[in-house]
């Protein structure tokens, strides 16, 4: 090998190493800057979240911790009461009735809402004629204040209301809908009607998160629409299932507003909810019982949410 050839070869090697070193240095600096930028972003993120976190802490977490404390003490004297408040609450027939009604309300209305909203969301997501209008229409009940809804229910379901008037036209005797067992069905209907739009929107968002390629691949492989729905769409919606179910559960507690506004402190037994009881306990200043009741219902909800989480989020 001539000298020139050797020099060329060495120069190439040097260049190669130079390139490598440059690459390494630039990678080092890139990583360094990325790390610096990330920490900075974390700090900004924390700063933005902090007010909300403080709010949650001040208005939810700390009060709830205080409620837990109060559940084990006599409120006025502060004396430790052990489990006696819980025993008192669990032995209270009104609590048992209210808890059973609340559980029944959740057990009936949440599945109806989740299933119905999914059934509506699927065609809407695929795009049907007038879908946008339909989606907007579904959201209107959310915009109507509870007091107005209640007025509407009273006009429809009162003894002298529209429904009885309509039935009368067909010779069917009417009834006092809100003061009989029908009150529960009306409340379920009211809840589903009010929350349907919101759940549909959530389902549509979740459906749009599923890559279209998967559906296309399945179709190419010869799968039918039902198979695609049950084998591909539903499994991909488990995470959304969790969110929507938890939100629906929380919203199911809010039907108390309607029940209270329609029928007051003592509605028909079938719609006597935990909030009615807590509301009435507060009138008697039974804070010990309220605290124990709140801890019990909180614990049940937590257990339920944990169960859903484990089942659908796999955590």
């Amino acid at each position: 090998m001539s000298f020139c050839a050797v020099r060329k070869c060495v120069r190439k090697m040097i260049m190669k190493y130079e390139m490598e070193i440059k690459k390494m240095v630039s990678l080092y600096y890139f990583r360094l800057s990325a790390a610096r930028g990330g920490r900075s972003r974390d700090r900004w993120g924390l700063a933005f979240v902090l007010p909300s976190l403080a709010g949650v802490l001040a208005f939810y977490v700390l009060p709830y911790l205080d409620v837990i404390r109060r559940a084990f003490v006599r409120t006025m004297t502060g004396e430790f009461a052990g489990l006696s408040n819980f025993r008192q609450v669990l032995g209270n027939p009104a609590f048992c009735l209210a808890a059973a009604n609340t559980a029944r309300m959740m057990g009936v209305s949440v599945p109806i809402l989740v299933v119905c909203s999914l059934m509506l969301a699927v065609p809407l997501q695929k795009g049907i004629q007038g879908g946008t209008w339909y989606k907007s229409g579904l959201l209107i009940p959310m915009a109507i204040p509870a007091a107005s809804v209640v007025l509407l229910w009273q006009c429809i379901f009162a003894r002298q209301g529209f429904l009885n008037g309509l039935l009368h036209l067909f010779g069917i005797p009417g009834t006092d809908w809100m003061n009989t067992g029908y009150a529960f069905a009306i409340l379920v209907f009211s809840y589903v009607w009010k929350n349907l739009g919101y759940s549909v929107i959530l389902w549509i968002a979740a459906l749009e998160g599923i890559p279209a390629e998967i559906h296309e691949a399945a179709r190419i492989d010869g799968a039918g629409e039902w198979v695609i729905f049950f084998r591909i769409t539903v499994p991909n919606l488990f995470s959304a299932f969790f969110t929507i179910t938890v939100l629906s559960l929380i919203n199911s507690f809010k039907v108390f507003r309607e029940a209270y506004l329609v029928a007051g402190d003592y509605p028909d037994e079938s719609i006597y909810m935990l909030q009615h009881l807590f509301n009435n306990w507060y009138r008697n200043l039974d804070v010990d019982k309220m605290a124990a009741g709140a801890v019990l219902s909180g614990a049940v909800l937590l257990a339920l949410v944990s169960l859903f989480w484990k089942r659908w989020e796999g955590k």
Partner: protein, 704 residues
């Protein structure tokens, strides 16, 4: 940011035309009234209470004389022993007046009246006599047919008479020289008089020359008799503020019933005589125009009294404030019914305050969850405050109300549900026996009880029954409804159920509880019923029962006495253990129990203070007549009533001493049960379903 700053600055600099102007207007009104002659500037009307002459209880007339002196006539509590007094220092001290005797007149209006020159006059509803003066003769003025003299005044040669004709005020002005009469027909004056009639006004006063006529009503109106022009000396709003000095604290803010007034020449002083319906005494006030009083901003200790609904304690609070001006007493009503706040809302708001340690010092526990408060230690133990003087009170009531244990709830008043009738009727001890007697006495031609008595009977029978325990006993409730139906069957005439007025039905009376009910004594007295169920709420009620016992051989007894001798506690007071001023709260209770807050026997319910009954105006050695009572206001349908003799009072006190069981009068339970009772009696609902419906609603409430 700069733009925002400029905008804020501009907003804050914008002249507040509306508010500012309005504020100024009010201030001017307050300062000068609406007087044409009022000095402008910083003068305001100041209110001062003046001393009364010793021995004067009532002020029956007042007048500024031409020489600037003030002349009043006074009397004792019964408007007797009249005296005429003069003051030469604007009402600050008094001396017996050297006044001529006023003329005598049949049925004359109480009071010794004098003209500005000191000439006495008197008037009745139909005529007025002005005594003779040097150079003048006695003059008599008679009203036209249908006219009634409401008030009158004389100054110089002017006689002003306010007459009432067909419920409307008119003003007549007489020239005493010529005796010519003219009516004042100014439209503004007429409007003012119409409003004065609606607001218990209508007193008149002349200046010493007889040129200006002043009328008290909504404000003090001034009529210029020389120019026939109406205006205001003190405007309505300002006058309202002046005579309602405690408006902000919820106390009874009226100075009292305005009886007489007089305006001094120059219009810088107005004398007012008012009488308190509580103490039944007159007070004198001076409204004086002058520089605003500089009130020292002293930080007063506060005493908050809370009542869910209107309560007689408000009156006591007002008197307590008068007696202890170093305290700032406020009386709060949770549910006034006027602002959409329900009873439940009010209770929750109160509970929030109590939980936050910001609650009132004194709670009037009527309608509040008092047992729950007591159980949770929210009420002070009052045993040591009440027990040492227990012989002064109906301690059986206090003790029974607290279950014979420590006293946390102090019932201040009470009443007794009773049954009236013959020996058979009053011997019954429970509803079953009552029904037997009722069936036995049916068909005698006289109803067992009058139909209008049924709602009160239903209510009293329920609250004195054993139907309510931990929850309602459905079987017993159905029996109760069945019995009510039987009573109605036997006491109502044909078709009467259909025409029964809503205001006489059970649900209405449950809502009004413990408001007054029906008064069956008259029906028994005039033989229109054989029995009656009612309440003895005060001595006056007992005086209605006495003629039945004396003249008709009837009697009275505790109602449903099988399980105890029931009483209804009213105005139950509790002192909040979390209150800011427990000492003042106890001081208030002591003040109340001293009996100072009660007038001379005119109280709606029996106070727990024993000596009040003994010292009442309704008790005398002779037991003389106190008039009569009637529902038809005809002499043949009037039942004469007599005072109690000490022996009768002793018997009755022993009856009250026998009370040992508080009724079960939970408002929610009563309301629901009575609604169903009404449905049963008047809508044909069967007793079993009515009882089932009532239990479904009420037992949930009771089991909470």
């Amino acid at each position: 940011m700069v733009l925002l700053g400029i905008a804020v600055a501009m907003c804050s600099c914008t002249p507040r035309g509306g508010d500012g102007a309005q504020g100024k207007e009010i201030q001017e009104g307050k300062n000068s009234g609406d007087s044409d002659h009022a000095p402008s500037g910083e003068h305001v009307w100041n209110l001062t209470e003046l001393p009364k002459p010793e021995s004067a209880v009532r002020v029956t007339s007042l007048k500024y004389l031409s020489d600037g002196a003030v002349r009043i006539s006074t009397g004792d509590a019964h408007f007797e022993h009249a005296a005429v007094m003069d003051s030469r220092d604007g009402g600050r001290s008094w001396e017996a007046a050297d006044a001529a005797t006023s003329p005598e007149l049949e049925d004359e209006v109480i009071g010794k009246y004098y003209s500005a020159k000191g000439v006495p006059f008197a008037y009745s509803s139909m005529e007025l006599i002005l005594s003779a003066d040097s150079g003048t003769e006695e003059k008599t003025v008679r009203m036209e047919e249908g006219e009634t003299i409401f008030s009158a005044d004389v100054s110089a040669d002017t006689l002003a008479v306010l007459v009432l004709e067909e419920m409307q005020f008119h003003l007549k002005i007489y020239d005493l020289q010529t005796m010519e009469c003219r009516y004042l027909e100014d439209p503004e004056l007429s409007e003012f008089l119409a409003r004065a009639a609606d607001h218990a006004g209508g007193q008149i006063s002349l200046d010493s020359q007889g040129n200006f006529l002043y009328i008290e009503g909504t404000g003090i109106g001034r009529y210029d008799l020389t120019q026939d022009r109406f205006g205001y000396l003190i405007g309505e709003e300002l006058y309202d503020e002046l005579i309602n000095p405690n408006q902000e604290n919820g106390l009874i803010h009226d100075l009292g019933i305005r009886d007489h007034f007089a305006v001094k020449d120059g219009e810088d002083q107005v004398l007012l005589s008012v009488s308190s319906p509580v103490s039944e005494q007159s007070k004198l006030y001076l409204l004086e125009r002058g520089a605003p009083k500089e009130e020292k901003q002293v930080q007063k200790e506060k005493l908050r009294i809370y009542s869910l609904k209107e309560s007689a304690i408000r009156q006591a609070a007002t008197l307590f404030q008068e007696k202890y001006p170093e305290l700032e007493v406020t009386f709060e009503i949770g549910c006034t019914g006027g602002n959409g706040v329900t009873l439940q809302d009010a209770i929750r708001t109160l509970n929030t305050e109590l939980m936050a340690g910001e609650g009132p010092d004194i709670l009037i526990l009527d309608g509040l969850p008092a047992d729950s408060y007591a159980k949770k230690g929210m009420l002070e133990d009052l045993t040591d405050l009440v027990e040492p003087d227990k012989e002064n009170y109906f301690y059986n009531i206090i003790s029974a109300y607290n279950g014979g244990e420590r006293i946390y709830q102090m019932p201040l008043e009470f009443c007794v549900p009773v049954i009236l009738g013959d020996a058979d009727t009053v011997a019954v001890k429970n509803r079953r026996e009552l029904m037997e007697v009722l069936r036995k006495k049916a068909g005698t031609g006289i109803p067992f009880m009058v139909s209008k008595n049924i709602s009160e009977a239903a209510l009293e029978l329920f609250i004195t029954s054993d139907i309510v325990g931990e929850t309602i006993n459905e079987v017993k409730l159905a029996d109760y409804y069945r019995d009510l139906d039987t009573i109605a069957d036997l006491c109502f005439s044909d078709g009467e159920r259909d025409l029964f007025p809503v205001g006489d039905k059970m649900a209405y009376w449950a809502e009004q509880y413990p408001g007054v009910g029906f008064c069956p004594e008259l029906d028994l007295y005039f033989g229109e019923a054989q029995a009656g169920i009612t309440r003895i709420e005060a001595l006056w009620d007992y005086m209605k029962i006495l003629p039945l016992c004396r003249e008709k051989g009837l009697s009275y007894q505790y109602l449903n006495r099988e399980n105890g001798n029931y009483f209804i506690a009213v105005s139950v007071l509790g002192i909040s253990s979390g209150g800011k001023n427990p000492d003042a709260a106890k001081q208030f209770l002591r003040f109340y129990l001293s009996g100072e807050t009660y007038g001379d026997g005119a109280y709606p319910y029996f106070p727990v203070i024993r000596e009040l009954a003994a010292g009442s105006r309704y008790v005398s050695e002779e037991g003389e007549s106190v008039g009569g009572t009637s529902r038809k206001h005809t002499p043949d349908q009037t039942m004469d009533m007599y005072k109690l003799t000490p022996a009768e009072l002793k018997d009755f006190t022993a009856f009250l001493d026998g009370l040992d069981t508080p009724v079960k009068d939970d408002a929610v339970v009563m309301q629901k049960v009575m609604e169903q009772a009404e449905a049963c009696l008047f809508k044909g609902k069967d007793p079993e379903s009515a009882a089932a419906d009532a239990c479904r609603e009420v037992n949930l409430y009771l089991s909470e």
